[in-house]
């Protein structure tokens, strides 16, 4: 095992992209920002980078930097890891920049060995040097570089340390000549693989043929599909049967045998180059970190965090800010001014009505979006950003694992569920942190069914708070019960095994204010782009229905369901109709009905439960279709809408029966 072995034919190092590769939560996205000047959402939670981000390098001419999702190891096991594996095999890369955690050298070096074997120019950035230094982790970087055959550059990306050295190392990066010797049977299998490929006419690959062989033997699905695209079915069949017979001759699995050889090599490097692996954590933050996962203190801290979230989003955002914006700014200043100007400038009453009438694009669509929804989502995203960057979310995953175990999931589901309280569409995208397709589907179903987004939550809370605390508790209890029952049933009906929880707990850190602000603004932009068109379409639809007289017809047609079954006034039909577009839009309609005194306490609770269990919005349905397929998305809609009405109707009868709210 040395750096100066012969270079096999087939190494193809061309192209103008540099891929940032590394474990989750090691600072790839921060480094991407430093190298390109572009911002991607960064957080202290694994799984932030759900899609590839590309940006031009500021100081490397004509070079694109690719930020990839974190990998724990190769071969890839999750969707995220497969994205990274595809980049390495399919993208024409000029070089790989591995971002490694300087305080966790063992796993950093294990991944580095795997990347070095690919034969692409590689640079290792040992990031988070400040944390490594504070914990007394010391290593001889020259010796590391010598043993790994790659330049090793210590960096602290958050402070911009080591970036100049990194960029010059990237400019001069060469393919590493690391060649590990594997057990004899593996070497034999590699030789057979190479011979088979050459016989089939494959002489070149984006990565070293030896690395391709190792990935194939490890059962890497990305390598398998790459080979299937280039080889005939017969050749692939032969390779598969060869691999099966090679597996049969070994006591351990092929992948375990390969990985053990790499681990042994890494251990030898560690012994030589690491002078101190650090002391145990002894600071206050470590003590607090322990408390956050403590069975008693952890729950109390969680309750305090949830109360703070409720206060900031529910009382400050949905109460104080909304009232300032809606009643004072829009109600008294902006809207009268806009209405006045429109009436002066436009002579056609139809257009005036379309713009500033009861269902006007401005007075309904824009006012709902900007005055009612924006302050709520802004405060939520700000609070969520602080939670993400502090490293609290993985601890929440550990604390909530038992609850999700009941739902056939593991604690990692808490990230999309909590993010769903901000925006269900965005949360659907983060279901990728779940390891299996089954778990992603279960989380998506629960998100679509029972997790209200912050916009809707704000409206719901506002309405229920004006009734009584009991009303809020009934609403919360019913929604939670539906979540438990449907989640439990779905977990038992859906085939497949539950994945056991394994999550890294990153150190608790003080959130960087600028980072939190930037990503809150970025998320708000994303949200507004999604919400504004739909609100305008919703307002236009209401206007058209009102003008054409269809609104009265629908109100009348919906009576058996809305009035007969749910016990609501006929006008609520219109709210449910626009609820198809966005359920918070529907909830806002119900909010105005309550303001007009059209709803009694029972009706408020029934309406809120029904609209909460409704499908979130058109955008989230489209996102579900994108992440799975249209059949799944339509299946969920067909399941959720009747269920929402069923639960609403049953609740109405139950409440009337016990005489609550009369």
């Amino acid at each position: 095992m040395q750096c100066h072995g012969s270079v096999e034919l087939g190494t193809n190092v061309t192209g103008g992209s540099i891929a940032l590769v590394g474990h989750p939560n090691v600072g790839k996205s921060v480094l991407f920002h430093q190298l390109t000047g572009q911002h991607v959402t960064v957080s202290n939670y694994p799984g932030t980078t759900v899609e590839l981000a590309r940006g031009a390098a500021r100081r490397l001419p004509e070079t694109l930097i690719l930020d990839t999702p974190g990998v724990i190891t190769f071969p890839p096991h999750s969707d995220d890891e497969q994205v990274t594996a595809r980049v390495l095999l399919y993208e024409p890369l000029r070089a790989i920049l591995q971002v490694g955690d300087a305080k966790n050298l063992r796993r950093t070096l294990l991944l580095c060995v795997q990347l070095a074997e690919l034969g692409l120019p590689l640079v290792l950035a040992l990031n988070m040097m400040d944390e490594a230094e504070s914990r007394g982790v010391q290593a001889d970087h020259d010796l590391l570089s010598e043993n790994l055959c790659v330049p090793v550059v210590p960096t602290t990306a958050t402070r911009g340390r080591g970036l100049d050295e990194l960029q010059s190392a990237l400019n001069t990066a060469r393919p590493p000549q690391l060649r590990l010797e594997y057990p004899e049977k593996i070497e034999l299998a590699l030789a057979q693989f190479n011979a088979q490929l050459k016989q089939a006419g494959v002489k070149d690959a984006p990565i070293h043929l030896r690395a391709l062989g190792l990935s194939w033997l490890s059962g890497d699905p990305v390598t398998e599909s790459w080979l299937a695209e280039r080889l005939s079915v017969e050749v692939v069949g032969e390779l598969v049967s060869q691999r099966a017979s090679q597996q049969g001759s070994l006591q351990k699995s092929l992948v375990a045998t390969i990985q053990e050889a790499r681990l042994a090599y890494v251990e030898r490097i560690i012994k030589r180059a690491v002078t101190s692996s650090g002391q145990g954590r002894r600071n206050n933050r470590a003590g607090l970190s322990r408390l956050t996962t403590h069975p008693v203190w952890g729950v109390l801290i969680l309750a305090a965090v949830m109360y703070a979230l409720y206060w900031f989003v529910g009382i400050f955002g949905a109460g104080i800010l909304v009232s300032l914006l809606e009643e004072n700014l829009f109600g008294q200043v902006i809207n009268p001014w806009v209405v006045g100007w429109v009436q002066q400038l436009i002579a056609w009453p139809f257009v005036v009505d379309l713009l500033v009438g009861e269902y006007g694009l401005w007075t309904m669509g824009m006012t709902y979006a900007l005055a009612l929804i924006l302050p709520i989502v802004a405060t939520f995203f700000l609070a969520f950003g602080v939670m993400e960057d502090s490293g609290y979310l993985p601890r929440l995953a550990a604390l909530s694992n038992r609850l999700f175990e009941f739902l056939g999931l593991n604690g990692k589901a808490v990230l999309p569920m909590v993010l769903g309280l901000g925006c269900v569409t965005m949360a659907t995208l983060t279901t990728r942190v779940m390891e299996s397709r089954r778990e992603r589907l279960l989380v998506t179903l629960l998100l679509a069914l029972a997790v209200p987004c912050s916009a809707q939550l704000g409206v719901v809370m506002g309405m229920l708070a004006s009734v009584s605390l009991t009303a809020t508790l009934i609403w919360g209890g019913v929604v939670f019960l539906v979540l438990l029952v449907i989640g439990w049933l779905a977990a038992r009906l859906m085939p497949g095994e539950r994945t056991q929880l394994l999550v890294e707990l990153p150190p608790l850190r003080w959130p960087v204010l600028s980072n939190v602000l930037i990503k809150t603004l970025a998320r708000m932009e994303w949200y507004l782009k999604e919400v504004l068109p739909l609100f305008l379409v919703g307002a236009a639809l209401m206007f058209a229905l009102d003008r054409s007289g269809l609104l009265d017809w629908i109100t009348h047609a919906g009576e058996p369901l809305v009035t007969g079954w749910l016990g609501l006034p006929p006008q609520a039909s219109a709210a449910f109709l626009v609820g198809f577009l966005r359920r918070d839009f529907g909830a806002t309609g119900l909010f105005l009905m309550q303001d007009d005194g059209l709803l009694n306490p029972i009706q408020v609770v029934v309406a809120m439960v029904t609209i909460t269990l409704f499908i979130p919005c058109i955008a989230s349905v489209m996102m579900i279709a994108r992440e799975s397929n249209w059949r799944t998305a339509l299946g969920m809609v067909v399941l959720i809408i009747p269920l929402a009405f069923l639960v609403g109707g049953l609740l109405y009868r139950g409440l009337v029966l016990v005489g609550w709210g009369i």
Partner: protein, 157 residues
């Protein structure tokens, strides 16, 4: 299994294995004796595991006694009391290959020491500078030996 748990002298803090303590083995009265002496300072103490009451009380209060009794085949990570460290031996067959690869990548490799932080609501362990939370059912499939009190870095010094 008892020889895998070391004693710490309350007087001088020396960590030692009572079963391997040669002086006891050569003593003509060591059969049935409940006492043990620290090889460093000579302080004499009662080895609770050699007394009936100590074993009974231990089985009520200490997780390791309960777990060891239940799991006679070998120690697993879930048997290691919080605040103790253990050497990883291997993985049970019930761990899927993907999970095994992730555990290894995080540094959970045979012959290395891990420090157990807690077991409830999930098992939290520390390997080098990484803290991992893993489900108890997963921890109970990670085979360990040589459990000792204290953090891992103490071993490396």
């Amino acid at each position: 299994m008892s020889d895998q748990i070391n004693l710490t002298c309350p007087l001088c803090g020396h960590d030692f294995n009572a079963e391997e303590h040669a002086a006891c083995q050569t003593c003509p009265m060591h059969q049935g004796c409940n006492l043990v002496c620290c090889p460093a300072c000579g302080y004499q103490m009662v080895d609770v595991r050699r007394t009936l009451v100590g074993r009974l009380a231990g089985s009520v209060f200490h997780r390791e006694y309960r777990r060891r009794k239940r799991n006679r085949h070998g120690l697993t990570l879930s048997d290691v009391p919080p605040g103790w460290r253990a050497k990883v031996v291997g993985f049970g067959d019930g761990i899927p290959p993907a999970r095994r690869a992730h555990l290894q990548a995080y540094g959970l490799v045979p012959d290395d020491w891990v420090w157990v932080v807690q077991h409830s609501p999930v098992t939290v362990i520390q390997i080098d500078q990484t803290e991992l939370a893993l489900e108890n059912s997963l921890a109970s499939q990670i085979e360990v030996q040589h459990i000792r009190k204290g953090e891992v870095y103490e071993d490396r010094q």
